[in-house]
């Protein structure tokens, strides 16, 4: 494996200049640049990450994070993943400024965005609300590396989307529903919001997976605004009206929803999304039957890991969309 020193010798220049070329720091004559690039390519140069990390000690990188986590336990583990990974790299100058907000009001998010971007950030992480106002602001911030976390939004030069494949999550939920209803049955869906892309994708995946599957029918789809109390009453109403064999909660508000099932006389079986503490307990005591998880801890970890790679090694992710695996959790899952 060739090194910077060897490239410098071959090109008849200094290591500093090779470094400038290889890391696009500018201030290099076009001729030398071309030559260095040619030699690097011919010898299949790849920088040594350990040497890079070592030399970069003392640098500072502040990551601003806006996360819609208040009142949504799903994000607890995301935040743990973020903090533990920052801790791991803190000697290399990573630090984090977290703004937690509640709900999906675009103006509130915009405000947090404006406030945070005044802080001389090295990167921004956001669970974006899919709204033109936000899109515009993010595009304006653009030279700054930006990661969309858990929910996605379109804008140019996004560094990465880190979250799950929502359509696949729905499909996997459909698989398990099929297993659970060997003789067919009626299914009611409780979603978060019909305005959330991810939720709708889950429903689409779920329905596609169950298409032409025996006597399985989707009998209703209702929204709970990701709110436990609304979820309780919506679920109670659905149970009353449709008496389904199975309930699929494809967004938050699961705690309220499951409470409604327990308070009813329904024997409906239950699939929920997201592995939060109360759901683990409900799984253990049989109140629910399966959890589909998108690995929140990994999403937090991967976010920081991605930015560390970007800062210290100059690596961008291979794919803009970085999906954490959707998984089925049953009682014995670790």
């Amino acid at each position: 494996m060739i090194t910077i020193k060897q490239i410098a010798e071959l090109a008849g220049t200094s290591r500093g200049t090779v470094d400038r070329v290889l890391n696009r720091r500018g201030n290099v004559s076009p001729d030398i640049e071309k030559l260095v690039l040619k030699i690097a390519k011919e010898h299949n140069y790849r920088s040594n990450p350990f040497a890079k990390a070592l030399a970069k000690r003392g640098a500072k990188y502040t990551i601003g994070i806006i996360i819609n986590s208040i009142g949504n336990m799903f994000f607890d583990d995301v935040i743990v993943g973020i903090n533990e990974t920052v801790e791991k790299y803190k000697e290399y100058g990573l630090e984090v400024l977290i703004r937690e907000i509640k709900g999906y009001d675009e103006n509130e998010q915009l405000e947090a965005l404006v406030e945070l971007s005044a802080h001389n950030l090295s990167a921004l992480v956001i669970t974006p609300i899919d709204h033109p106002l936000i899109e515009k602001k993010l595009a304006a911030l653009s030279p700054l590396p930006i990661v969309a976390l858990n929910s996605d939004i379109h804008f140019d030069r996004k560094l990465a989307f880190i979250g799950c494949d929502y359509y696949n999550s729905g499909g996997l939920s459909g698989d398990i529903a099929e297993l659970m209803l060997p003789n067919g049955g009626d299914i009611s869906i409780i979603t978060g919001s019909f305005h959330m892309l991810g939720h709708n994708e889950r429903i689409r995946g779920f329905k596609d997976a169950l298409k032409n599957k025996g006597n399985i029918r989707i009998v209703s789809t209702d929204a709970n605004d990701d709110d436990n109390e609304i979820s309780y009453s919506a679920t109670a109403a659905v149970l009353e009206r449709y008496n389904p064999d199975l309930l699929y909660f494809c967004a938050a508000g699961t705690e309220g929803g499951v409470r409604a099932v327990k308070d009813s006389s329904s024997s409906a079986r239950v699939i929920v999304v997201d592995d939060i503490k109360p759901m683990r307990d409900y799984l253990a005591d049989g109140s629910i039957n399966a959890i589909i998880t998108q690995q929140p801890y990994c999403q937090g970890e991967l976010t920081i890991e991605t930015l560390y790679q970007y800062f210290v090694y100059g690596y961008s992710p291979d794919q803009v969309n970085c999906y954490t695996e959707n998984q089925v959790r049953l009682r014995h899952s670790k």
Copy 2:
């Protein structure tokens, strides 16, 4: 974070001596050793892995691997995990000598062990047969770091066991069986060998998970010697005799077993262990309903990663038993 240089200054000695103490290279006077250790502890010294890795360039580590992979597709992904991870670290001197063997004959494995240990190895990885002959040989090799991969065996100073928690694997299979039999039913188990600890642990976990679960009964348990043809006939016989509602294959030989189900008129549903290619296809076409996987790729990767950490950073695993997670795979699993 304190460095070796700073410790040396505080202790009034040289970096070389501090290095000797911290890495137990010997040849240090007891007084200095004590002092250095004290300072390191007080300042919570932790070595910098990047600096270590950088300084270690040029070292050579040969890992000998004995793996019972011939005729067992499960190990294909384990080996891919091994090779890709070795590739990743090959600049740091890792290389691998693999002996693939077939079956569970202890003398054959012993022979491979003797032959391989003549190669001036830095570590040994083995899928051990749980037999006194092997145990004795491994104990004799003991200063050499040894990793038990996928199957375990007792001996002193084992560096790690890397594999799954078999009891938990059985429990998770029980969970999914329970989901699939809402009205109860009869289950037949096809195992590999009653002499394999892991297989028996799976059966125990499976039965424990299904204890007191409605009308679910285990009606038979038969062995197939991990062989597809024996599996075919054993399964055919079981279907004929018990007409079970569900089959649980808790070891290899799944391909032959599922073929027997397809060739029969049985409508038994099927849970298998291990995510090998033919099972993926059977899952897609509905011939089987669920796969319980132990993440073979990760087992290979973790094995090499563990040895890399040991060689380059001097880290031993926190726990001797390193479990890869057992997971449910359905049609939409990635």
